[in-house]
């Protein structure tokens, strides 16, 4: 199995947390953020409202895997940053997704033309 595909599968191994994990990784790709900032950012770029229970379920899975790391606490809020391993997993997953999107759109296009004609 290609390494890229394997890394993408690593994210899928998180089960029902895989989609929110992807959103968290994508949010942290911009720079370190604390929990509330991640929720706001995800709401903005995706439209999904991640609830606190889900967010911390994701963080508790990503951190031990070394995909994100906690920075020193600021007041009562702790920022997290994306690690190199996390960036590699995100990159692999997005590459696979891009291939799926591109293939799906390409295959839909002729069908759409047929329907239109």
């Amino acid at each position: 199995m290609p390494i890229q595909q394997q890394r993408a599968n690593d994210l899928a191994d998180l089960g029902r947390f895989s989609e929110p994990a992807l959103l968290v990784l994508a949010s942290l790709a911009e720079g370190p953020k604390h929990g509330y900032a991640m929720m706001q950012d995800i709401l903005e770029f995706h439209g999904a409202r991640i609830e606190p229970g889900t967010l911390y379920g994701v963080l508790a899975r990503l951190e031990p895997r070394g995909w994100i790391s906690a920075l020193p606490i600021e007041g009562r809020r702790r920022p997290y940053r994306l690690t190199a391993a996390g960036a590699a997993v995100l990159q692999a997953h997005l590459t696979v997704m891009r291939r799926v999107v591109s293939t799906g759109l390409n295959r839909l296009e002729p069908r759409g033309s047929r329907v239109a004609s």
């Binding site: 191994d13 929990g35 509330y36 609830e51 606190p52 229970g53 508790a60 606490i73 009562r76």
Partner: protein
Amino acid sequence: MRLLRLYPRAWRARYGEEMLALLEQHHLSMRTRINLLRGALDAQLHRGSPIMSGNRRPSVRWSLLVALLPSTFVGVHWLCQLYPFPGDSTLWNALVVLGMMVAVLAPTWAGTSAQAMGGRLRDSAVAGGLVGMAALLIAWIVSWGLTIAGLAGVFAWAADLQGGSGHIAFSFGPYLAQVWPEVLLGAGEFAVVGCLAGTALGLAGGWLGRGAGGGWLRRIVGRPGAQLSTWSDPQG
């Protein structure tokens, strides 16, 4: 925030303060409360678990839990035999069927877990055999515990009928002295049957976990890894 108390202590020590800070900024809707409840359940279920930590070794706690489930159902079935319920026994029959299903699944799961740890088929067979034997032995112990508890209850009831005059006396010592060969023999039979059936099921589980059709099982029980949890509960 009371809901946070439902999370494991180690979790609260690690994430509690920042979660509180976040919740102070977040509207606490019913959806959020349900989500926190679900999160607490998830954290409790996966306390120190390989799913959380990325260290995919099946934990002893989970193995014992799986082994205990069929035992509980067998115990309930035994209790039903001691005190037959009049009328509809559909519920009890359903419980027995459910127990049998779980009893079959436990060694299969153990076999698949052994594969997920990177073991050979032989390891799956051993894991299945051990879990199968443990499950039936625990069931046997539970059954005898219920029998003795049932006898104690019956004799206490009979003594009450006699007005507590103590005409009916029962001593467990002579009773146990009489039945212990049967108890040991029964335990041996259960152990052998559990071990043989568990070995076969463990092999089947190992084959499922290794083959192409075992991808979904492999996903459930995980794969071997090397990272340690950062929030595992020191008090277990």
